[in-house]
């Protein structure tokens, strides 16, 4: 599949390509989406809150976020080299899938008890699970690194060079930046820097409007695998090969800066774009 034929053939083939290229991730994304339905039901009848947020908000965010992540991996799987469907790769995909499910079960179970999942270190059992889930989170994020490197080294993706570079860079940066942002986050006792008074927060994302929020950096870090390929797609169509390649590299640098700056901003106790929300 070439870069030129990709957009035109998307609607017809995207579904079957997902199943053919990444059956485990495609099935997992579908499963995670469908199992969000009872959580929506629970959110409608459950009046409990945790840290001033409805208890089911976080599990729903995690279902949505992980479904998006896994579906994106399934989409990019078409650019993996031939032969990446080996037994070793399938076992790795199964391990990643298991980690994704474990995170969701953990976050959902903690929510059902209206207690903390992340940062729950007071209870020894929950503290131990929190540590284990950190390991699982690294494993599930490593899928973007493994795929990014494999796509980087694949000479036959059929993509324009700049787009090829942006897909590989986006995936690799998702791993590196998420490791930095989420690793920093987990070394703290909570996601806020400062003490919120009114608990004003952005809808859906839940970021504080009053104090620093380290989840902002995590969000942008993890979405590198969406943003950079979009830049690459546009650049590879609008510019010559060399300019497009430079644009992708500049965008990657700017993106790294954005993630680090949002983290710095949070550490200074400042909300991200305070005029939002």
């Amino acid at each position: 599949m070439t870069a030129q034929s990709l957009p035109q053939s998307l609607p017809r083939t995207v579904k079957s390509r997902l199943w053919a290229d990444a059956p485990a991730f495609t099935g997992l994304a579908l499963f995670i989406t469908l199992t969000a339905l009872p959580l929506i039901g629970a959110a409608m009848i459950d009046t409990r809150t945790f840290l001033d947020a409805p208890v089911w908000q976080k599990p729903l965010q995690f279902h949505l976020a992980l479904a998006t992540y896994v579906l994106t991996l399934a989409f990019f799987a078409r650019f993996l080299p031939q032969g990446m469907t080996s037994r070793r790769w399938r076992i790795y995909a199964a391990v990643v899938s298991f980690c994704v499910l474990a995170e969701l079960v953990w976050v959902g179970s903690a929510a059902s008890y209206a207690t903390a999942s992340h940062f729950n270190v007071d209870d020894p059992v929950m503290g131990a699970i929190y540590g284990l889930m950190g390991v699982f989170a690294v494993i599930l994020t490593s899928a973007s690194l493994v795929m990014g490197v494999a796509i980087w080294r694949n000479p036959a993706t059929g993509l324009a060079p700049a787009l090829h570079l942006s897909v590989a860079l986006g995936l690799i940066l998702t791993f590196v930046l998420t490791l930095i942002a989420a690793g920093t986050l987990s070394s703290m006792l909570g996601h806020h820097i400062g003490t919120p008074v009114t608990n004003a927060a952005l809808p859906i994302l839940g970021w504080s409007r009053e104090v620093g929020d380290l989840r902002v950096g995590h969000f942008f870090a993890t979405h590198a695998l969406h943003v950079l390929p979009i830049v690459g797609l546009i650049a590879s169509r609008a510019f010559s090969a060399d300019v497009a390649r430079g644009t992708v590299l500049a965008a990657a640098l700017a993106y790294v800066a954005l993630v680090l700056l949002t983290m710095l901003q949070a550490f200074q106790g400042q909300p991200f774009l305070p005029w939002l929300g």
């Binding site: 039901g41 629970a42 009848i45 089911w56």
Partner: protein, 146 residues
Amino acid sequence: MSPEAMFQIANPIALLGWAALLLAPLAPRLVDTITHLIIPMLMALAYSALMLAHWSGATGGYGSLPEVMALFTDPHVALAGWVHYLAFDLFVGAWATRTARAEGIPHLLVLPHLALIFLFGPAGFLTFYAMVAAFRLRATSSGATI
């Protein structure tokens, strides 16, 4: 929404399923989709939501009869238990209707068992299986087709 209000919604939905089962021969595939899939799935969603929201807050447990009885003193958990009955009873009713069709047993003969499954789930399940066994034995011993 209060548990009472949800109860008032769940019952008519289940009744709709049972009414469809009575008329199953008129539109077998449609009725099968409604009674075997759609309504039980809706009930399963409601049950899951109720248990996710209220199970952890309820007293009692599954380990002893007093614990189970204590569990059902929570209106939300009791409602979830009732929805569980509604969903699985209808599912068994739909299964019986489909099994009878596959075995060539007239729908008229299934109706009394459907009534029993509706009111006393497992009792109807038992009598329906007894009837299926009788039909199978007759077929093998007499060589006659049902």
